[in-house]
């Protein structure tokens, strides 16, 4: 899980071109939108694309997306839940 969160932070920084942000600056539980990283609605679409491209996970329901993209922690938990064999 720790490894996944670290990887995710690097991918978020790259995908959103967060030039002055380092992975260690992102708190696992800090909100990605609003206060925290200060991302906006276009960023949320980009993060959906990131999940699809990097993890082959498509989020169909936008309401579900809001919960998944709350923080790095919630994103990592969602990815892990999708990757676990049924």
């Amino acid at each position: 899980m720790e490894e996944l969160k670290q990887k995710l932070k690097v991918q978020i920084i790259e995908a959103l071109n967060l030039q002055d942000t380092r992975p260690e600056d992102i708190d696992d539980n800090a909100p990605l939108f609003g206060e925290g990283l200060g991302l906006d609605s276009i960023d949320s679409l980009e993060l959906m694309v990131l999940l699809e491209r990097q993890y082959q996970i498509k989020v169909e329901d936008p309401r579900e997306g809001r919960k998944i993209l709350q923080s790095v922690q919630s994103m990592a938990e969602f990815i892990q839940s999708k990757q676990q064999p049924a």
């Binding site: 071109n17 967060l18 030039q19 276009i42 679409l45 980009e46």
Partner: protein, 352 residues
């Protein structure tokens, strides 16, 4: 055009040091056929959170427009009107590549949004909270000229002021594509030696140039745009009669023109059109494309040059080494430019 149109503010990001409006800067010499803009520090104009998403031409366009508004002292213009030949090429290329790479799935929205031609106008409007008239013209070599015409019509109809501008960029990929249809010279030249290489093709360029236009002159006015005429694929005969007619329509004769800024670009395929200037004018002719390179909206750079020269009553000799003698006065500048022989423009720029 009945109404008057004065340039009250301007800003340019070009392959020369133009951003600060200082005409004493040395000429930037590029060895190669693709001139790129000298870019300013965008962080003074655009918030980091917005900047991170913008590609180059969006940064250039937005920054030039904001600097122009700053120069004019107007925050919210009565209209925003621009012209662009290609819009954001970087975003267009990225979007198209992603369609291929991801087989039309999982497409990133940002390059798509930003590849639309009116993206720069949208950014200006958002940044300045300007909900007024907003339009972008995409008409190849007439893109800026149509934006200018629209701006002049708006002023004539009573709009208090108009932010008018143009922006275009060149990318290595687009340079390659246009090279295949003969736009660029086969031999590699230096821009300062462009006119020594008269052969098929020219050198490419880019730029973002903005003007704040108003219907009345003030002490801060740079110049007046006295006339504008566009001619699509004119024959040499038509061109030869059109130029004296254009001058006559504005109450001028050839002897009244103090300087001609010409779009001559050492392209032997289309050089013959510039002969009309030799036949119809007697004043010094200065080509400008060794400074900007050629692109659809290069006419905006010529207008920036003319306005600066008229305001400062000076021709920067380090940018125009071909100038033999400074004209005694600068009152009327004629710009004649065409884009690869198709879209031809006369512009009359006058001292205030």
């Amino acid at each position: 055009m009945k109404g008057k149109c004065y340039i009250q503010g301007l800003a340019a990001i070009t392959p020369q040091h133009t951003f600060e409006g200082d005409l004493s800067q040395p000429m930037v010499v590029t060895r190669g056929n693709m001139l790129s803009c000298v870019e300013p520090d965008y962080r003074s104009f655009i918030a980091p959170n917005s900047l991170r998403r913008m590609t180059r031409v969006l940064r250039m366009g937005l920054t030039a427009s904001l600097k122009c508004l700053q120069d004019s002292g107007i925050a919210i213009p009565g209209a925003i009107v621009t012209g662009t030949g290609k819009g954001s090429l970087q975003d267009t290329e990225r979007f198209i590549k992603e369609i291929r790479d991801y087989e039309e799935r999982a497409l990133n929205p940002t390059p798509f949004i930003q590849s639309t031609y009116n993206a720069v106008n949208g950014l200006i409007a958002l940044q300045q909270k300007c909900t007024r008239y907003n339009n972008t013209f995409v008409h190849r070599g007439f893109s800026f000229e149509h934006a200018l015409l629209d701006s002049m019509l708006l002023l004539h109809e009573g709009t208090s002021d108009v932010l008018a501008g143009a922006f275009d960029e060149i990318t290595p990929e687009h340079f390659f594509i246009k090279g295949r249809i003969g736009h660029w010279k086969k031999e590699t030249v230096s821009n300062d030696a462009l006119y020594e290489h008269v052969s098929p093709g020219t050198i490419s360029g880019e730029g973002a140039v903005f003007f704040l236009l108003a219907p009345t002159a003030t002490a801060q006015s740079y110049a007046q745009i006295g006339g504008l005429e566009m001619l699509y694929k004119p024959s040499p005969e038509k061109l030869k009669t059109a130029l004296p007619q254009f001058l006559q329509q504005h109450g001028l004769q050839a002897a009244d023109i103090d300087l001609v800024l010409s779009g001559a670009n050492a392209d032997s395929n289309h050089a013959h059109y510039y002969q009309v200037l030799n036949d119809c004018t007697q004043c010094p002719q200065l080509p400008f494309k060794h400074l900007s390179g050629d692109y659809e909206t290069a006419g905006a750079f010529a207008l920036w040059l003319a306005a600066q020269m008229l305001k400062q009553q000076q021709i920067p000799s380090q940018w125009f080494p071909m100038l033999q003698q400074q004209p005694a006065r600068l009152r009327n500048i004629l710009i004649y430019n065409h884009f690869f022989g198709e879209q031809h423009t006369f512009m009359l720029v006058q001292a205030v």
